[in-house]
């Protein structure tokens, strides 16, 4: 019998509320798509200490970075002590390169924006896709032994973040895949479909054009509806997500998950 996957609960950019987590549940913080939604170095240090006090694992989600942003984020990474029970999900190949150089012992995983699984609701509804074509959209870097071996050997990558979508679930009896499975963090219930650099919450300009941001996106969203899409999208921050349970299975699947990252801030 497979062990239950570890749960990480997303507690917002700053990871507030670690003390209230149930035993055995970890905390996720940061952002996969916006540099302004990362915690400060001081807050990160506090979160690491709080989580350690509860023996809870931490997951720091990180976005893509421009050069200046990556440089400015180094203190944040420095706030993670060597040996702490923290995994950093990277969504930028340059961040991966940087972390490998500066923090070789840090536990690293490949985030949802880089892992390659495709989540557009139209994939489930398109009459033009063959079944093989549809399944192709559920694959990603994590599917490739070659890529996994390179990332493990050269960058010490230990896992991959993915969404749960119906076309991603392995066919029953796919024993070969089961035998050599990567460690997956499955994010539920909203799959991330796309990301823009322009942020509608600050007037539609690039998030890089402001030095800091009051985070007006945090407690609001816009549901985007268009019949041909096969499902609603939810605009949150600079990202567009699927509505809950995009596969309409009634219950998200955790098939193949080594860990599950749960969110409660979207409808």
């Amino acid at each position: 019998m497979c062990p239950l996957p570890t749960e990480y609960r997303f507690l917002g950019p700053d990871g507030k509320g670690i003390a209230g987590l149930p035993d055995g549940v970890g905390a996720a913080l940061g952002s996969e798509y916006c540099v302004h939604l990362l915690p400060t170095a001081a807050r990160m240090a506090d979160a690491v200490a709080e989580a350690a006090g509860r023996r809870a694992p931490l997951l720091l989600l990180t976005p893509y970075f421009r050069d200046a942003e990556l440089k400015a984020s180094i203190p944040l990474f420095r706030a993670i002590p060597s040996g702490a029970n923290v995994d950093v999900a990277v969504n930028d190949w340059g961040a991966l390169q940087t972390l490998r150089g500066l923090f070789p012992e840090m536990r690293r995983s490949i985030g949802r924006l880089l892992s390659g699984r495709k989540r557009c609701p139209r994939i489930g509804a398109s009459p033009r896709l063959t079944e093989e074509g549809r399944r192709w959209h559920g694959e990603g870097i994590f599917s490739s032994r070659v890529a996994r071996a390179f990332l493990a050997a050269a960058y010490r990558v230990t896992g991959y973040h993915v969404d749960d979508v119906p076309w991603s679930r392995p066919a029953q009896g796919d024993d070969d895949r089961e035998a050599d499975r990567p460690f997956l963090y499955v994010h539920v219930p909203n799959a991330i479909v796309t990301v823009s650099d322009d942020c509608p919450w600050i007037g539609g300009v690039s998030s890089a054009s402001v030095a800091s941001c009051p985070r007006p996106c945090r407690d609001r969203h816009v549901v985007l509806r268009e019949p041909s899409m096969g499902g609603d999208l939810i605009l949150k921050g600079k990202a567009r997500f699927t509505s809950r349970d995009p596969g309409e299975t009634g219950r998200p699947s955790h098939l193949g998950a080594g860990a599950v990252v749960t969110y409660r801030d979207l409808p």
């Binding site: 694959e139 990301v195 985007l224």
Partner: protein, 322 residues
């Protein structure tokens, strides 16, 4: 800085080169790929026929036509993911491309990039696609380690950010995308399905909107920002204002988007970029002058003023951007 134009058939080569194209790139889908994945999943992210050279013989003719004019041709193999069992067949395809004289392949899949690196082609350079989302110099370093000799940068970078990436890139050539095809989403992070040219793409749809936040309605400035890109026609995308500054910064090539578009559109695009580059070479213009000249040239090219939703480099667009 070279002008890199899309090309779809040999007959287009003389006009494109005559307009100023110094490099060309094309799409080609080997038969085994189409058989495996059907009509929608292309190995170069363009599934419609007009955007792909139909057969290897046609591609051979295109490469020869370009070679007669000393113009290299690159081929996009930039789907991702590439299943492991398909990698050897795509490496064989790349060998075939090299044999007929193709000079570079554009790749977005890490496994394929590694396999092509290890194949050690002598005359086939490896270009890391913009789908790798190279936003910073360390991403260029990562891609160099994986085998890339040229890196096509993320489309969202400013001229200053790109200029800052050139010196540390060293011998790795940097390419910027700067005309046609601007998408409101970061292409490497976007998973929208573009399965049917006859229906509006998800990134261009006009959506119904339902507010989920304090108050009764979407704040007007947020609504305006969301709706700005809806219905935007990427054919009108432009980065002309930046051309002189990108050239001065040492960017190796400026890519024009538009595989599958009409020949006249491709030629007009090449001509506009070439004119802007030539203008910049004849002086050392300040950014404000570039903005003025770029907007003039845009109007001459498209017959209308430029718009923010079509601007690749918003630092040149008053009221928008950094």
């Amino acid at each position: 800085m070279l002008i890199l134009s899309p090309v779809d058939r040999a007959s287009e080569v003389p006009d494109l080169v005559g307009a100023g194209a110094e490099e060309l790139y094309a799409g080609y889908v080997p038969p085994f790929w189409a058989e495996a994945f059907g009509p929608v999943v292309s190995c170069n992210r363009r599934s419609f026929d007009e955007a792909n050279v139909g057969a290897i013989d046609d591609l051979d003719a295109l490469v020869r036509a370009a070679a007669l004019r000393d113009v290299p041709v690159h081929v996009a193999l930039n789907a991702s993911p590439i299943p492991d069992d398909t990698i050897p067949r795509l490496v064989a395809t790349a060998a075939e491309l090299a044999r007929i004289g193709v000079r570079g392949v554009i790749v977005s899949d890490l496994s394929l990039l590694l396999a092509l690196r290890d194949a050690k082609f002598r005359r086939l350079s490896l270009h890391a696609s913009t789908l790798f989302s190279a936003f910073n110099g360390m991403a260029v370093a990562f891609l160099r380690r994986a085998g890339a000799e040229r890196v096509i940068l993320a489309r969202e970078l400013s001229t200053a950010e790109i200029a800052g990436m050139v010196p540390p890139a060293g011998e790795t050539r940097l390419e910027a995308i700067g005309f046609r095809g601007r998408c409101p989403n970061i292409e490497g992070f976007c998973t929208h399905l573009h399965d049917d040219a006859d229906r509006t793409w998800p990134c261009e749809l006009r959506y119904g909107k339902e507010w989920g936040g304090p108050g009764d309605a979407i704040p007007p400035d947020v609504l305006h920002a969301v709706e700005r890109d809806e219905g935007a026609d990427r054919h009108f995308s432009c980065g002309l204002c930046a051309v002189p500054l990108l050239e001065r910064a040492g960017v190796h090539a400026l890519k024009i988007v538009g595989r599958g578009s009409e020949t006249s559109r491709k030629v007009d695009a090449v001509r506009a970029v070439a004119a802007m580059r030539e203008w910049g070479r004849n002086r050392i213009p300040a950014p404000a002058e570039c903005a003025r000249r770029g907007k003039e040239l845009y109007r001459e090219t498209f017959g209308r003023p430029c718009r923010p939703e079509n601007c690749y480099f918003p630092e040149f667009y008053p009221g928008r951007g950094a």
